[in-house]
């Protein structure tokens, strides 16, 4: 446990065997995000032992590590050189791995300014459904040789293959970071978000909960100080953004019986007030909603505003993920077929027919 190991060959062998026997496999890292996806019955392809940082040169702004490497180790290595993962992946548990974070594709509060998981992925190694260990993308920022399979794998929930190694773009950690709080009703907060986003401010978080508006500023000391003066608000000395990202805030803890919806909409979308209690993140583009309204209702509401809704936690009769139009689903099936011809990788984890 805990040592750097390369078990690529054993992983390939397990995939080849499963392919021969047409036996479904579920790639797993630290098992912290099992809730995120449909429950399926499949043998585990355990990537946790496949771990270790393969390459990290701080001046290249790139880190490469095996999929089973714990996220916290990667973050610790980065902070030693005053760098960070710009997409702030949620861990949801101490064993969260790099591979799991990329396979789930989730991103934290910095998303509107620094991009999401998919934006920072530069390259991957993966085992496809034939048991071939392949390498796509690379360790450089700009690379258009071949189709972007690495980003295709990001957020594909292990349905296209097993991610075994990831190269990510990293960024310098900001010299200064602080959080301001203002009293504001959600409507007012959304209005302010719109104004601020359109201005050149060193923002790295804008959220709103319980009539309080949270601003995170990141940058040079001088830049943060001048923005703070301009925006105003009380300084907050609490790990609000970590608690938001890890869903430790009381909002997330209350009543597990009521499903938690993740609604992704264009940021200027008005408050979706009828549907349930809401936490606004991503400067308005992400709405966490607690609602026991029928899934169909929540999804229609999201669609009306040009977005989609994921039933993130709780019991979801309507399926976890927003249904795709038939033409899209057909294309998805063909893509899965291209990477996983025998359909062994996490079938049904994302959509029943995929």
């Amino acid at each position: 446990m805990g040592e750097d190991r390369d078990i690529g060959e054993a992983l390939c062998a397990q995939v080849i065997e499963a392919a021969q026997q047409r036996k479904p496999l579920r790639p797993r890292g630290g098992d912290t995000k099992d809730f995120y996806g449909e429950a399926i019955n499949a043998e585990t392809l355990d990537l946790a032992p496949h771990r270790g940082i393969v390459q990290y040169q701080p001046t290249e702004l790139v880190i490469t590590a095996r999929a089973g490497t714990p996220l916290r180790l990667i973050e610790a290595a980065l902070i030693e050189h005053r760098q960070m993962l710009p997409f702030e992946p949620p861990h949801f548990g101490e064993h969260a791995t790099l591979g799991g974070a990329i396979a789930c594709g989730l991103s934290g509060p910095r998303r509107p300014w620094q991009g999401g998981a998919r934006d920072l992925v530069l390259g991957t190694r993966m085992i496809n459904g034939r048991g071939e260990h392949l390498r796509f993308g690379g360790e450089v920022m700009k690379n258009v040789a071949g189709y972007d399979v690495s980003r295709l794998l990001t957020g594909s929930l292990g349905t296209l293959g097993a991610i075994t190694e990831v190269s990510l773009k990293v960024l310098p950690a900001p010299e200064q970071e602080l959080t301001l709080v203002q009293q504001a009703e959600p409507m007012t907060a959304l209005q302010r978000f719109r104004n601020w986003r359109a201005q050149p401010l060193p923002l790295s978080g804008l959220a709103c909960l319980d009539d309080r508006l949270y601003i995170r500023l990141s940058g040079t000391e001088a830049g943060v100080a001048s923005a703070r003066e301009r925006l105003g608000g009380e300084l907050l000395d609490a790990p609000f953004w970590d608690d938001l990202r890890e869903q430790r805030l009381a909002f997330f803890q209350a009543d597990p019986e009521v499903p938690l919806w993740r609604i992704s909409v264009p940021p200027a979308t008005p408050l979706l007030e009828d549907v349930g209690e809401t936490l606004v993140d991503w400067a308005g583009a992400l709405r966490w909603v607690r609602s026991d309204a029928p899934g169909q209702t929540v999804r229609e509401l999201a669609e009306r505003h040009g977005g989609h809704a994921t039933c993130f936690r709780g019991d979801c009769a309507a399926g976890r993920f927003h249904p795709l139009p038939e033409t899209q689903l057909t294309l998805h099936r063909r893509i899965k077929q291209a990477l996983d011809p025998h359909g062994i990788f996490s079938p049904g984890r994302m959509y029943r027919s995929l």
Binding site: V140, M141, P172, A198, G223, S264, P267, A338
Partner: protein, 496 residues
């Protein structure tokens, strides 16, 4: 259609029937088929490759594009899409027995959404036109390839175009939220969304840089950014290229993320200075242009820090652009580097490898050695911030054999990039030009995986045949020398 997974054959073409069908969709005035009318479309920005298509069709509506694709799909006629034709890898080179689909008439900005910071545009809209259209809102569209006055946004998506500000603001793939795509059989697909993410697989990423191999982009929703309060450019001169390369690493190591960080070597400096009088120090062996942006307070603090670093790295001179005029002039020199080189040589060939920054000094030394070996001059401009190298090989196409020698030298430069852990193309695409070098970067199972993915979108291989991904047969002929993780199997053997 043949059985091998990476090769396609098409039925014999009935030209008259095809033209009749196309005419019925777009009318005679938007259909070109005489040799004279086809001539301007025989190549894109890479003029070394030329070929005439059977017809050029210029639709104006999405419905027409759908009809054209349905027709060509039914007749199994290959289609090559073309935007502004500024591409540098032959991606829009026509297919001889096929149709060239021009998106030039899709040139309208459909909607600017100030609240959501987006613009919905047609694919033929020029890159720079977007920033111009939103300038009065103090917004802009970030990716700025050097060809931005001419290149179109549809082509930018197809190539995943970069530019001078990628390190901080990303490539096209980071700045597009949604595309509407007409599939090979004429269906309209929405890929991505006006929200920050969409359900299902990230097909938006797959479309970026796919070089017209997977579908025809007919609409693009781009992100807009607030224009920084201030941008300042520092120009630093160095006696040695290596010192400039070290300075780049030091700036990054200090935790600074410049908006732009560009390097030019002495021949590039001289050519640019002769051409546009940017005020460059022509005696310097290398210059660095470092742009810092943000609020006024930020820029002032950063500029002081960077200046100190540059001086520590033995810069012989550090200048800060005094005003917007001088800043524009500093950049003009860089953005004009290609045409400037065009004035000092009958022809030039532009390469596009990307390397880890730490390998820069080594790679430049090797390029110089190759240049001497081949007796061809090489001028270097370099997106130093993100490791994207643009060596320009100077040659004279009228001299027999010189183009071939140039291509061979170019190929070696790209193979060098792969050896040091980089890639054969950072932002120009593989197209026709670098198809053999794909065999160096990828092994057979990866190439076959690309072909399988292509088939998921285009089962009969009708879209842009023969580009972007080589057949295994082609790699075998080329010598199939896949470089595994930066190590050539037998580095001492001479290669062709």
């Amino acid at each position: 259609m043949s059985a091998t997974p990476d090769h396609y054959e098409f039925p014999p073409l009935d030209r008259e029937a095809l033209l009749r069908g196309l005419r019925a969709i777009v009318g005679e005035q938007n259909l070109l088929h005489s040799e004279e009318a086809l001539r301007p479309y025989e190549c894109d920005g890479l003029s070394a490759y030329r070929r005439l298509p059977q017809a050029v069709v210029l639709p104006a509506t999405v419905a027409q594009v759908q009809e054209i694709m349905s027709l060509c799909h039914a007749r199994q006629v290959p289609v090559v899409a073309r935007g502004a034709g500024t591409g540098l890898s032959g991606g829009a080179l026509p297919y001889g027995d096929g149709v060239l689909l021009s998106l030039a008439r899709f040139n309208r900005i459909l909607q600017i959404d100030r609240d959501n910071l987006t613009a919905r545009v047609q694919p033929g809209v020029r890159n720079l036109a977007i920033s111009e259209a939103v300038a009065d809102l103090d917004l802009y569209y970030a990716p700025d390839p050097s060809s931005q006055i001419a290149c179109s946004i549809g082509g930018n998506v197809a190539e995943n175009a970069g530019g001078l500000h990628c390190l901080k603001y990303g490539l096209t793939v980071h700045n597009v939220l949604e595309v509407q795509v007409v599939t090979v059989d004429g269906e309209l697909l929405r890929i991505g969304a006006s929200s920050f993410d969409a359900p299902g697989y990230d097909l938006l990423a797959v479309m970026h840089g796919s070089e017209g191999m997977l579908g025809i982009v007919v609409e693009v929703l781009v992100k807009l950014l607030p224009r920084p309060e201030q941008a300042r450019v520092l120009l630093a001169a160095f006696d040695e290229v290596v010192q400039a390369a070290d300075a780049v690493g030091e700036i990054i190591a200090a935790g600074i993320l410049p908006a732009g960080l560009e390097m030019m070597d002495n021949p590039a400096i001289r050519a640019a200075e002769d051409f546009v009088q940017a005020g460059y120090p022509v005696e310097a062996q290398a210059i660095l242009l470092c742009e810092l942006d943000g609020t006024e307070a930020e820029v002032t603090a950063l500029a002081d820090q960077v200046e100190a670093i540059l001086e520590d790295c033995a810069a012989t001179e550090v200048r800060s652009a005094r005003d917007e005029d001088e800043r524009a002039r500093f950049w003009l020199g860089r953005k004009s580097a290609f045409p400037a080189v065009g004035r000092i040589s009958p022809d030039y060939y532009c390469m596009d490898g990307t390397i880890p920054r730490s390998q820069l000094a080594h790679v430049l030394t090797r390029i110089q050695a190759l240049s001497d070996e081949y007796g061809l001059r090489v001028v270097n401009v370099f997106h130093a911030g993100d490791g994207n190298l643009h060596p320009l090989i100077l040659y004279d196409a009228s001299q027999p054999g010189e183009l071939e020698r140039t291509e061979e030298l170019g190929g070696k430069v790209l193979e060098l990039c792969v050896q040091v852990g980089g890639t054969i193309t950072g932002e120009h695409g593989v197209g026709m030009e670098k198809i053999d070098q794909m065999c160096v970067q990828f092994a057979a199972p990866e190439l076959l995986q690309f072909h399988a993915l292509k088939r998921a979108f285009d089962a009969h291989g009708l879209l842009n045949p023969g580009k972007a991904v080589p057949t295994l047969h082609r790699c075998a002929e080329f010598g199939a020398m896949h470089v595994h993780h930066g190590e050539l199997a037998h580095p001492d053997i001479p290669r062709f």
